[in-house]
């Protein structure tokens, strides 16, 4: 059982995350209804405001709060309770993130920041929108301090022992985050804030986009790695199996640090001002992420097979039937994993020059990240919530809630399948993303998109129902479920390895390699973007 003070810390993060999920999810449904021309928004709320709020609340706020709530709980579980100064740092982080969230959301709803969650210049929001975003990021630095310093003191007190796998993974995720945010922090503090206050007249647009995507791609790994933590550490225990390999799990996380950052140009493949050669260099590094992804897939299925065979499964695939399909704690992350197969393939398509040409900025891309973050990651987070919320609140996941939880997961799966399939298919014929209405005055090229838009709204409706059910079940688990002790599942290793290769916990080496790769991939193109820049752009408020 996590101690009460640290449990409260995690719970406040979850309350905020779930509130963001509810509001952001509702905005998502509104978008599908507007796009399919079934709903007209009131005049003082425009589609693009709703779209901005949906992106900020779900992609930035929901994820970040949930991830820190989860990481705190796991770190405390595996390394002991937080020293009070660390818990204090974590609370400061929480408050800063909350202030930032409220500032950003308020400005979006006031129609002073209708710039979408990627806030591409030279669309210019109120300076306080960017300051709000900065607060969120500064808050995460306090949070990162709490976890990393806890890890360091654990290692000092346990010389010669390998660190708990969960905490190691949390630290790896934060190392990735700290390096990645350098890009967006630079852009926001040195470019956006002075420019939006009017202290500088113009902004270097190409540079701001490059700095954004330096952050934007590892951001998706910041969402994904906590899901992988649940897959590697907790799922083996839930299915009654073992962690396949502790050291390979650590290696996979380290490889994600190396190959998720120097790759941002694959989001800018169709942009002028960056040479083809540097784009290709980053495409090569992008593809390298396939290796740790395949290692993860192997580890998952290996631990499934081990669990099934220990329960007496025979034959080539007999173990598959022995998996606990009726346990929502397993069902949810498993469906998430299944979604990641097409999602990973889609990612490879998007990063390939020629195929990207067909899908870039079409709603195919929206479909892609709704089956990665919106299915793989969030289904895993749902699965985590079903045991972690009662664990933290001293209650138990009853059979009844487990069964309702399965309906919630199935509702989400079906909704997301319908919505994302419609997005992928209509994207292939050019249906653009981020667009309020796509009928283009009845143009023949757009004729097929309308029925897909309707399908998206059907999927979106199911998704919102799933969120309602989820929130209801979470309230039940937090406040009404029977008291007791719900397990925090931490898997054991298949073959106990007491000694790790020393290199695996030598952070200096891995951070140095990461920085080296970043310097190789970015130095020359960034110098070009700065030295050889065209005249900058003034700000525009087209809303």
């Amino acid at each position: 059982m996590v101690n009460a003070l640290d449990a409260r810390l995690s719970m406040y993060h979850f309350y905020t995350a779930f509130a963001a999920l509810l509001i952001g999810g509702f905005f998502g449904l509104l978008q599908t209804l507007v796009r399919s021309e079934q709903l007209t928004l009131p005049v003082d709320l425009n589609y693009y405001q709703v779209l901005t709020a949906h992106g900020v609340l779900l992609a930035l706020v929901f994820t970040t709060f949930f991830i820190f709530g989860f990481m705190y709980a796991g770190v405390v579980k595996t390394t002991g309770e937080f020293a009070s100064h660390r818990r204090k740092a974590a609370w400061i982080g929480f408050v800063l993130m909350l202030i930032g969230t409220i500032m950003a959301t308020t400005l979006i709803l006031m129609n002073k920041a209708t710039v979408l969650y990627t806030f591409y210049a030279p669309l210019q929001a109120s300076p306080f929108f960017y300051i709000g975003l900065a607060f969120i990021i500064i808050g995460t630095y306090f949070a990162a301090y709490a976890i990393i310093s806890q890890y360091r003191s654990w290692r000092k007190e346990h010389k010669g022992e390998k660190s708990p796998l969960f905490t190691f993974m949390a630290v790896a995720t934060l190392v990735l985050w700290l390096i990645a945010t350098i890009g967006v922090v630079t852009a926001v503090t040195l470019q956006y804030i002075p420019w939006s206050f009017g202290w500088t007249e113009t902004i270097n647009v190409a540079l701001s986009r490059t700095l954004f995507w330096f952050f934007g791609h590892p951001l998706v790994y910041f969402w994904l790695l906590p899901a992988y933590m649940a897959w590697y550490v907790t799922v083996p225990k839930i299915i009654g199996g073992k962690i396949f390999s502790d050291s390979l799990a650590r290696l996979a996380f380290l490889l994600f640090i190396l190959f998720s950052i120097p790759v941002g140009f694959h989001h800018q493949l169709l942009e002028p001002g960056i040479s083809e050669v540097w784009k290709y260099v980053q495409v090569v590094l992008t593809f390298a992420v396939i290796i740790p992804s395949l290692m993860t897939a192997f580890a998952m299925f290996a631990s499934f097979e081990i669990a099934g065979r220990e329960k007496g499964a025979t034959g080539l695939l007999g173990w598959f039937k022995k998996l606990p399909w009726s346990d929502v704690r397993f069902l949810a992350p498993f469906i998430g994993m299944a979604f990641f197969i097409p999602a990973g393939a889609g990612g490879i398509i998007n990063a390939s020059h020629q195929m990207n040409q067909v899908v870039h900025n079409t709603i195919w891309v929206t479909g892609h990240f709704h089956i990665t973050i919106g299915a793989t990651v969030i289904l895993t987070f749902f699965g985590i919530s079903y045991w972690l919320i009662p664990h933290l609140k001293g209650r138990v996941l009853t059979k009844h809630i487990n069964n309702l939880g399965k309906y919630q997961i199935v509702l989400w799966t079906v909704g997301m399948f319908i919505m994302s399939a419609a997005m992928h298919f209509s994207g292939l014929s050019g249906n653009p993303r981020r667009t309020q209405i796509t009928s283009y005055n009845g143009h023949e090229a757009a004729a097929s998109w309308g029925s897909y838009e309707v399908a998206m709204s059907v999927g979106g409706t199911l998704l919102l129902f799933s969120i309602f059910l989820f929130i209801g079940l979470m309230i039940n688990l937090a406040f009404w479920a029977p008291k007791g002790s719900e397990e925090f599942p931490i898997g054991e290793e298949f073959e106990d390895t007491h000694q790790l290769p020393k290199l695996l916990e030598n952070w200096k080496v891995w951070i140095a390699i990461a920085i080296l790769l970043i310097l190789i991939a970015y130095t020359i193109p960034v110098i070009d973007l700065i030295q050889d820049a065209p005249p900058g752009s003034p700000g525009y408020q087209f809303w």
Partner: protein, 157 residues
């Protein structure tokens, strides 16, 4: 570090696939006939003086050879200049675009014509229209509350 034999095989297959994919993408981008690299024009201009800068001082369709055209387009919130273009079937078109305000997308639905216009930069690509029809040119990057009105037509006759 112990690595299971099957995992070695699995990773090896992954690695070979990776190299095969990258080779394909690389050859197509740099060494194939059609030169299918990403649109990466490095030409720069002053985004506030677009109308005075060549070739954007004369936007429109220019015939430069047998069945070959240059199409110079200016993008702004919320329109394309020119916004109606007609070309004969089988024409090869060299697109040259830029924006006078925010970031825009330039997409011709149902084709592989797709590129970004960022202020201060010219972007370009080439496409051959083999089939007759009414093509829809649209902006696929959010450029303000009228973004969904930003489209143009290209007729291949």
């Amino acid at each position: 570090m112990h690595i299971h034999k099957l995992e070695k095989v699995w990773i090896a297959i992954g690695f070979v696939t990776l190299v095969a994919f990258l080779t394909t993408v690389g050859i197509q981008a740099f060494a194939s006939d059609g030169h299918h690299g990403a649109p990466s024009d490095l030409t720069k201009l002053d985004p506030e003086k677009v109308h005075e800068t060549e070739p954007f001082d004369d936007p429109g369709l220019h015939k430069i050879g047998e069945n070959e055209y240059e199409l110079v387009m200016i993008l702004e919130s919320y329109g394309f200049t020119p916004h109606e273009v007609r070309i004969p079937e089988g024409s090869t078109v060299h697109f040259q675009i830029t924006t006078i305000d925010v970031v825009h997308g330039f997409e011709i639905a149902g084709t592989t014509v797709n590129m970004m216009a960022t202020p201060g930069h010219v972007n370009s690509m080439t496409y051959t229209f083999e089939e007759k029809g009414n093509y829809l040119i649209l902006c696929n990057e959010f450029c303000g509350t009228g973004h969904h009105f930003m489209s143009a037509e290209l007729e291949v006759y």
